[in-house]
Symmetry: C2
Subunit: 425 residues, 2 copies
């Protein structure tokens, strides 16, 4: 190891190449003390000047709070022209966020004909088809059933599809991975209502339809309906936001986002899938052997480093925390490894509690940057044993045609100016 | 048991008096099917009419989302006149919420001189006093240290003090228990910075001061500083809201809310507490024997039923879910029991995962209301073995003078019209 790669003795030996440090820094306390202080401009204390805002009364109470005006850049981004509804998506700014939850105002959106303005008192949900008796539910009806809550991620099947280009697009994490969010969802188990309507034993599929003007609909197996499907009325404590399906959305934990139908108005029990446009022309995984995977539901194990990432600037060699998100539609994250040398060597990251099934898991690792080029990567493993693939392995299997379920390892290249950029390694 | 108290056979035997049902309803699946459907107006399905909002494109994407206009009643409440800053508080509407998280826009606020309008680039935090070298940190400095995230409740020490009146005030849960919220907090461990500045072994206290114009300050033991104190920059994923301490607040998990100093500008290491006005004239627990408890920090084990609660109307006998929140500043909720007969009989509630230390825990229980009077209660136990006291036991110890740390059992009386009201039992 070159001398410049070696951290100071206080950190002990590095855990992987190019400055990745031992997890002891996080697990055993404050061994990192001095690392940041020594490399930044923290100054000796003087009596602090009293700023203007400490000299006058502040703002009054507000019924519903908002972020600071100084955070006005922390917003969702979308390609649609202003005030133009229609199909599109708005992306979560993970480069500005930390923790495991996504605030509802920044939860990603995907809609096919804008956000319908639904009066909850008039909204109805019908369950029909291969059932003993069809039923129509108002929101008041639904509110009478037992509820459950769970923290779950949602990810668009097309998230990260931008990596499926021959050359790395010079865009940020929000543009590449912004169709991913995590919230505390509360609602009625679909199995409760299916017990009530009485499912024909021959029924194998459920078709879910939204009340938006595109009539967005998807099919899902009845096994999922009886397992953990949830009809959600609450998101992060309050009623689901309009952009996320107010007044009731379907949650199919771990399944591709498009199937979590918003503005839910209809559930039809059938013995075959609907073959809707969103499961034939779209949301089907094209392979390079001219075949395709249709009805691939769970989102595979995946992770991405949020800090540092494009738009962040490392200001000089020294200590940096590497932090990111990991998730699996098949279960719970078991481990995340990080690399600073493009995958040549790896060291384990710390998983921030709570680590929950089908939820985002925040991971953290310590990095002593030597000021030179680096290639940062993270690699997640879930409790089914699945390991996030390298981009090369992913492309070898699927080629460059498939824009869905892209879960290969993301590389952020760091140059000697401390700039981060999307890179292939 | 009177015949009218007996639920239908499908539920099996009740688990406690006056209609409290077995947890099997939640634990073993959808045994409740039909209970709500039979008692509400869910109708046989007809082809659903197509509503107006399904016939036209919806609203376009928005950079930062907001709740539905139909939820405009779901707001914080406060006694201060409009546009009048100063001391006061704004309360979380738990009667409208479900799940474990509180959206940041509805997180309770307590401020003593309004919300300062702090420019994060100019904000500074000093750590000084009994340290080897004082340090001044900018937000950029702080952002260089390792972070950790945790989901934690905050509760004002004065929360629920309204129950300390001889007669039950006819107000709702928001007015009584609204100074309570839960969020995903992310920041730098205070212990990391204290290792850097070097604490004098003789130092026993830390004094924390805010940058608001009241200069709100509190003292806390250095043991807490070295344990789990966090300097938070993020709340529910995004930067802390101004009303909750932007750009950096102190989090002392489980300690009374007032000590979690917002707009943090100064931490002074000392060998005695400051005896600030907020720890002498206020936030001291008066007892009925003319004594007082000063420096009582952790909030004791507590719970409250949020549904049903005042303002909700039970529409006819039948199945209702009882749902609420439990928490302990001393650890993790181990169990919650519910009663429908004012505490004569109890049955266990289901704890909704995740159950985390020093966080809100959502509990749920099944209730078959017979249409007659009932007294709903919840009683929490934490993993230290502490059990939430009855109001009688609480008053016997502390009398009616102490407005702080009121953690006795809340009773909601249900009358035969299905109305809920604050009651003493």
């Amino acid at each position: 190891m070159a001398r410049k790669d070696r951290p100071r003795d206080r950190f002990g030996e590095p855990a992987a190449g190019n400055g990745i440090m031992s997890r002891r820094i996080f697990l055993e306390g404050a061994l990192v003390a001095g690392a940041a202080g020594a490399s930044v401009t923290a100054a000796r204390a003087e009596p602090l000047a009293v700023p203007a805002w400490s000299k006058q009364p502040g703002s009054p109470f507000t019924p519903y709070g908002q972020p600071s005006k100084f955070e006005s850049k922390v917003v969702r981004t979308f390609a649609n022209p202003a005030n133009a509804p229609g199909t599109g998506s708005a992306r979560t700014p993970h480069q500005h966020l930390d923790g495991m939850m996504t605030p509802s105002g920044l939860h990603f959106e995907r809609s096919h004909s804008g956000v319908p303005d639904i009066d909850p008192e008039q909204h109805r949900l019908v369950i029909h088809g291969m059932v003993r008796r069809s039923m129509v539910y108002s929101l008041e009806n639904l509110s009478r059933y037992p509820r459950t809550s769970r923290i779950a991620f949602l990810e668009c099947a097309g998230n990260s599809g931008a990596l499926n280009q021959a050359q790395p697009a010079q865009v940020d994490i929000q543009a590449i991975h912004g169709l991913l969010s995590c919230a505390d969802w509360t609602g009625v188990k679909l199995s409760t209502l299916l017990d009530e309507v009485g499912v024909d034993p021959a029924a194998t599929w459920v078709i879910a339809e939204g009340a938006d003007s595109s009539g967005m609909s998807r099919s899902f197996p009845i096994a999922k309906a009886m397992d953990d499907a949830l009809l959600c009325m609450y998101q992060n404590g309050e009623r689901v936001r309009p952009s996320n399906g107010y007044p009731v959305r379907l949650l199919l934990p771990g399944f591709e986002g498009n199937m979590n139908v918003k503005w839910l108005r209809r559930l039809k029990l059938t013995n075959e899938p609907q073959m809707a446009k969103d499961e034939t022309s779209k949301y089907t995984v094209l392979l390079q052997n001219e075949k395709a995977w249709q009805f691939v539901f769970p989102l595979e194990v995946k992770s991405v480093i949020t800090h540092p990432s494009p738009g962040h600037l490392l200001k000089g060699a020294g200590f940096y925390e590497i932090s990111g998100l990991a998730w699996s539609g098949n279960g719970t994250i078991r481990s995340v490894e990080v690399s600073a040398d493009g995958g040549k060597t790896w060291a384990p990251a710390v998983l921030n509690n709570p680590v929950l099934p089908k939820a985002l898991t925040r991971f953290r690792a310590a990095w002593q940057w030597n000021g030179g080029p680096a290639q940062l990567q993270s690699r997640a493993t879930d409790d089914t044993g699945m390991v996030q693939p390298s981009r090369a392995a992913f492309i070898a299997e699927r080629g460059l045609r498939g824009n869905y379920h892209f879960n290969a390892i993301q590389t952020w290249g760091i140059n000697d100016k401390g700039e981060a950029a999307n890179a292939y390694a």
